[in-house]
């Protein structure tokens, strides 16, 4: 009963938030709607008994990813309205076709796979976090380490790409120095 109420409530909220994030023309609205949608999605994980996944969802998405986007938006001009593609007929038709095929595949998948058995079944008498730890550090140890290396690569890539000329602070320079830097940049571009 409560599960059904929670499911429908959060389903409605999530769909509404993501719909706003996709359709709004203001980048800041899209960011906040996306952050809210991420939090609402973690509710599904808690309903499904995947407590650790829900906590990770809140920490990583609403904490790290959204903060990263918020900092990234400071570099861009986000105050003006976002231009949209005008409705191309072929795109709409292709979108509808892909969606329909996807729906069919998703509905057919559980029917096809009725006879599947659990590869790593839930452990009796252990919390979700313990179960996750047991599977993650035995069967999925090497993917876990590879993911760690991937995150390190991503961190270094982010620093190298975004960190150029970070030693210059626009707030500490006076106007003359900023003008000089601007002129230098113009020469570089030309």
């Amino acid at each position: 009963m409560f599960e059904a109420i929670a499911f429908y409530l959060f389903a409605f909220l999530t769909i509404a938030m993501f719909f706003i994030a996709v359709t709004t023309s203001q980048a800041l609205y899209a960011l906040t709607a996306l952050a809210a949608g991420m939090i609402f999605i973690s509710a599904f994980f808690f309903i499904l008994g995947a407590d650790f996944l829900g906590a990770v969802q809140i920490v990583v998405y609403s904490g790290a990813v959204m903060a990263l986007y918020a900092f990234g938006m400071m570099f861009f001009d986000t105050t003006r309205d976002v231009k949209e593609k005008n409705g191309n007929k072929y795109i709409v038709v292709g979108l509808a076709t892909i969606s329909a095929v996807l729906v069919v595949a998703i509905f057919a998948a559980p029917i096809v796979s009725q006879n599947i058995t659990a590869l790593y079944p839930m452990v009796e008498g252990a919390g979700n976090t313990q179960e996750v730890g047991l599977v993650l550090f035995t069967k999925y140890l090497i993917p876990f380490e590879v993911a760690a290396v991937m995150l390190l690569v991503a961190m270094i890539a982010g620093i190298v790409l975004a960190g150029k000329q970070m030693d210059l602070s626009l707030t500490l320079l006076d106007d003359k120095e900023i003008e000089e830097i601007k002129n230098k940049k113009m020469k570089k571009v030309l």
Partner: protein, 102 residues
């Protein structure tokens, strides 16, 4: 209706995936395109967690963790590239990417 089964979660996942797909198709701004890809990844995570719960198998949750890790690194690298592109061209519209002359 009141009994929430696997199909409910899969339908929700489909709806969210379609919303993300619409976003990917109609957004021109690269930053908002990234938002749409986040929606795609999250909708798949719901399906993974639901299947993991209803079949009593932890593999789905493991895959959801790795999807989250991939999403985090994608954001870091993608935003770095976007900042470089914005510094050079002053815009992050997709149209400015159409010609690959740098």
């Amino acid at each position: 209706m009141m009994e929430i089964g696997l199909n409910h979660y899969l339908i929700l996942s489909t709806i969210l995936f379609t919303i993300g797909l619409i976003g990917v198709m109609r957004r021109k701004n690269l930053l908002l395109l990234f938002f749409a890809t986040e929606i795609l990844l999250n909708s798949v995570n719901i399906a993974f967690a639901a299947i993991s719960h209803f079949y009593g198998d932890l593999t789905g949750q493991m895959f959801a963790f790795f999807v989250i890790a991939i999403a985090a690194s994608e954001v870091a690298v993608g935003l770095g590239l976007l900042i470089v592109w914005h510094k050079r061209h002053g815009t992050i519209d997709l149209d400015s990417l159409a010609t690959m002359r740098g």
